[in-house]
């Protein structure tokens, strides 16, 4: 059941990623919905689950961008794996943790991507990454609030 919900969420956030970022940009800040989903799912998952969700998030993003599919998949898989691994630290789940995880996850995923597929201009890329991470941190709050009851279902 939970896997099905996560699969639907991946499709839903893929739709968001394809149709919304330019429409919901604020002061040239654009969110990355798939990275928000990856971070929130990883909070309630483990290394394996995080890596699998990361794989699909990366595949969708790479497909939408049209290039660097391998790099997107690799960066998201590694990020999901690391975020899932953090569950071993047994941190108290909270909105703050969700925000920090999302911001950190976004930065980590994009920095990994930057190393394996270097963009033409590093500084602007990092600037855009920081802005996206901040926007993602805001979006993570409602997503976490909605995801928490679903994650606690006993099915």
């Amino acid at each position: 059941m939970k896997r099905l919900i996560v699969a639907l969420a991946v499709v839903l956030f893929g739709c968001f990623q394809m149709g919304l970022p330019s429409r919901l940009s604020v002061f040239s800040l654009t969110p990355n919905y798939l990275l928000v989903l990856l971070a929130i799912v990883a909070i309630f998952s483990d290394r394996k689950g995080g890596a699998i969700v990361g794989f699909f998030c990366g595949a969708i993003e790479g497909s939408l961008v049209g290039i660097n599919l391998t790099h997107y998949i690799a960066s998201r898989v590694i990020t999901g794996f690391i975020l899932g691994w953090m569950n071993d630290l047994k941190l108290q789940r909270s909105v703050l943790l969700a925000v920090l995880t999302t911001v950190g996850g976004t930065l980590a995923a994009q920095v990994i991507l930057m190393f394996i597929a270097p963009p033409p201009e590093i500084i602007p890329f990092l600037g855009a990454t920081i802005k996206t991470a901040m926007y993602n941190g805001v979006i993570a709050i409602p997503v976490y609030v909605l995801a928490r009851p679903i994650a606690e279902l006993r099915v």
Binding site: C15, G19, F55, G62, L64, I67, T70, F81
Partner: protein, 271 residues
């Protein structure tokens, strides 16, 4: 124990498999791009996500428009009012531009107008007395003007000088009942000639000397030149009606003048 320690954990194995799968898919994408096509993974994802993305995109646009409409209503109303005012101001400006353009055309016509063997003296209209069929112009005896000279604009005959003094002259308009001015229909051969005068209104009356004269609506009426001071060929107007009086044997034509007196600013006196 050693065998257990060396075994790769399932999580790490998953990571490696997913990375390998990613590399394979990336290679497929690169190969497809080389032949100018989309790879199958991209086709699937884009195909699956497009309808949903379109729906969410449209919904976001609608929501954005709605919220903008609510929060910007006051500002839009103010802008609307301001634009309406600007439109009204622009309309007045356009009218002014049209009037100035007419003035400019009139000036050009005055400058280009042939002198008809006379000397041209330019003057401004400084007074207009519609009831008396008179105008006052800003040139007088100091420029050699005197009674009887033809006063014209770019469109045609305005009238004749009634009296002149230093610095100004009084002009009797062609709409005045007196004096009558010699006129003819330039397009007729032989030209039908007569005397033209006003009736106090806008329309002029041309009384032909010959009751059998050829005349029709649309004929151009010009000065006859049978006067010492008014040369031949100055446009007066166009025939709009022919009236035959069988009892008195008279033939007259009603003529619409070519000069709009109310819009005159400058005139030329043919000296």
């Amino acid at each position: 124990m050693n065998v257990r320690r060396n075994r790769i954990s399932p999580d790490w194995l998953t990571l490696i498999v997913l990375l390998a799968l990613g590399a394979i898919l990336g290679r497929a994408q690169s190969s497809a791009r080389l032949v100018g096509r989309e790879d199958f993974v991209s086709r699937i994802f884009v195909g699956v996500l497009s309808p949903g993305a379109h729906i969410f995109g449209s919904a976001a646009d609608a929501l954005n428009d709605f919220s903008r409409g609510i929060f910007s209503a006051r500002r839009l109303e103010r802008e609307n009012e301001m634009l309406k005012k600007e439109l009204r101001a622009l309309s007045v400006y356009n009218d002014t531009v049209a009037l100035l353009r007419n003035d400019l055309d009139s000036q050009r016509k005055l400058i280009d107008m042939p002198s008809l063997g006379k000397t041209k003296v330019y003057a401004d209209v400084i007074g207009f007395y519609a009831e008396e069929n008179r105008i006052l112009i800003s040139a007088g005896t100091e420029k050699g003007l005197h009674q009887g000279l033809a006063v014209v604009s770019g469109d045609g005959l305005v009238g004749t000088i009634q009296s002149s003094d230093k610095g100004f002259s009084v002009v009797t308009l062609i709409s005045s009942p007196k004096p009558a001015i010699g006129a003819l229909l330039s397009a007729r051969n032989p030209p039908s000639a007569g005397l033209i005068h006003g009736d106090g209104g806008q329309i002029l009356t041309l009384q032909f000397g010959d009751p059998q004269a050829a005349v029709d609506s649309g004929d151009l009426v010009v000065t006859s030149g049978f006067s010492e001071y008014i040369p031949r060929g100055i446009v007066i107007g166009k025939v709009i009606q022919k009236i035959e009086n069988l009892e008195s044997g008279q033939l007259v034509a009603k003529v619409y003048p070519s000069v709009a007196i109310g819009r005159l600013h400058e005139v030329v006196i043919l000296k």
